[in-house]
């Protein structure tokens, strides 16, 4: 089993506020790891550091054997929780434009996902609902053939129909034999069955982490129930 991501003592401070406090985390090939926690627990900060758009204050992180940066982003797919698409573009336009940066963009796969998600290539992004924009972000992330997908709150603020479609894409496109997913969420119930391992974050620190099945049997509860116990 290859180690795709390894973080040791990862710390991030914004002024006096700690976003991460010495987080240790690993992602191995062929597994889906969930970073779980309430808003402000440091989930997004971790993923942003992993992709190299935020710099850590301390500690170290290595993804696919590289330090986060532009070089790494050629090989890792990232989806933000934010509404960060260029709204003036059309669906087809942003797909083509994004594809032009990557060698691992899979046009056939992209077309298939777009059709499955019911997206119209001619639609302006500004005219799409939030749910449809969420679908588009998912389509962009999974149109690439990469070893590691970093998904930041892929289901947050999305209507149930779109949530279900997005989950279907994640399940359909995930290939345990050659890829891994690290996703952050506070909507544990929706992704519970996907997760191989979980990391519970609170106020930037790891509260609990381990194999999902082992945690379920240790606590005699679902991951969602453990989440409620920890943060309730």
């Amino acid at each position: 089993m290859n180690r795709l991501l390894r973080a040791r003592g990862l710390t991030k401070r914004y002024g006096r506020k700690h976003a991460l406090r010495g987080v240790d985390l690993e992602v191995n090939s062929g597994e889906v790891v969930g970073i779980l926690g309430p808003n402000g627990s440091g989930k997004s900060t971790f993923l942003k550091i992993a992709i190299g758009i935020v710099r850590p204050t301390g500690g170290e992180i290595e993804v696919l054997g590289q330090r986060p940066g532009a070089g790494l982003r050629k090989h890792v797919s990232y989806m933000s929780e934010n509404d960060y698409l260029y709204r003036w573009m059309r669906v087809g336009e942003i797909l083509e434009w994004t594809a032009s940066f990557y060698d691992d963009w899979n046009d056939a796969k992209s077309q298939e996902i777009i059709e499955f998600l019911g997206l119209d290539r001619d639609s302006k992004i500004s005219s799409l609902s939030r749910g449809m924009r969420g679908r588009l972000k998912t389509a962009i992330a999974f149109s690439r053939d990469v070893q590691l997908y970093l998904l930041d709150e892929p289901l947050s603020g999305i209507d149930p129909a779109s949530r279900s479609k997005i989950l279907d894409v994640i399940i359909r496109e995930y290939r345990p034999e050659n890829s891994s997913i690290l996703l952050s969420t506070h909507l544990v119930m929706d992704v519970e069955n996907l997760l191989d391992r979980v990391v519970f974050l609170s106020d930037g620190s790891v509260l609990l982490q381990g194999n999902a099945d082992e945690l379920r049997s240790q606590h005699d509860a679902s991951i969602n129930s453990i989440f409620i116990q920890l943060y309730g």
Binding site: Y14, G15, K48, I53, V54, T98, F101
Partner: protein, 244 residues
């Protein structure tokens, strides 16, 4: 730096900058037309009037527009949260800064060209017995000054977006320091600049009357170096300091 990445970002910028490329030149055109209407009945303009118009009246709004444009080309990415999309692409800060600066350069070229052509036409029209000839070097000078202004404000915006606390205040202080430093350096380098070949920078109007400006090629090279420094510093900030 990957040329493909710069080209891809530039393609996006060009699509987005359509209105800047259309409306600002249109505005320049209208402004020149206004000047034409204002001055067409004056039988004889004073000796340096065309040069005065070039440097004082028409260039000022263009400089302000260039300054604003340099800010907006980066600020709009932050306001629309698209800076995260851009930075999550496999591009580095230097490529982002270079592509945006190239866009600024293209826009400045369009502004300078529109101004240059319409100004000459209008002044020639206004003084029916006069013609105005402007040298290519004057055009290059205006283009570089507009580009420098825009890349300078781009740099200041990058500073504002990279410093979490008092970003605007720090950018404003830097504006004063850097602009003064730029002038000081130009002063120190003056003896060196004088060694470069002289270029003719003049407006000819009427029957061979000339309004001249002393200039060497070194001045243009210095402006170009300032632009490169601005772009490099912006690239450094976007890559290393700007978090989304």
């Amino acid at each position: 730096m990957d040329i493909r990445n710069i080209k891809n970002i530039l393609v996006k910028e060009i699509k987005l900058a359509k209105s800047w490329l259309i409306f600002v030149p249109a505005g320049v055109l209208l402004f020149n037309f206004y000047i034409y209407l204002k001055f067409k009945d004056i039988p004889s303009m004073s000796r340096n009037a065309p040069m005065l118009l070039v440097s004082g009246i028409v260039i000022l709004p263009l400089l302000i527009i260039a300054f604003i444009r340099g800010i907006l080309i980066l600020k709009s990415e932050r306001d629309n949260r698209t800076i995260e999309y851009l930075k999550a692409l496999p591009v580095n800060g230097f490529e982002i800064a270079t592509a945006k600066s190239l866009m600024i350069g293209i826009e400045s070229f369009a502004y300078a060209a529109t101004y240059f052509i319409t100004f000459r036409t209008m002044i020639t029209l206004a003084q029916t017995t006069y013609t105005v000839r402007l040298t290519l070097w004057l055009f290059v000078l205006i283009w570089l000054v507009l580009t420098l202004t825009a890349t300078f404000s781009l740099l200041l915006q990058a500073v504002g977006m990279s410093v979490r606390r008092f970003g605007r205040l720090i950018a404003a202080v830097l504006f004063l320091i850097l602009s003064q430093a730029g002038l000081k350096i130009a002063g120190w380098l003056d003896p060196v600049l004088r060694e470069f070949p002289h270029i003719t920078l003049y407006v000819v109007y009427g029957a061979g009357t000339q309004a001249k400006g002393p200039m060497t090629l070194g001045t243009l090279i210095l402006l170009a170096i300032y632009i490169v420094i601005n772009v490099s510093l912006t690239g450094y900030l976007v890559e290393n300091k700007m978090e989304v």
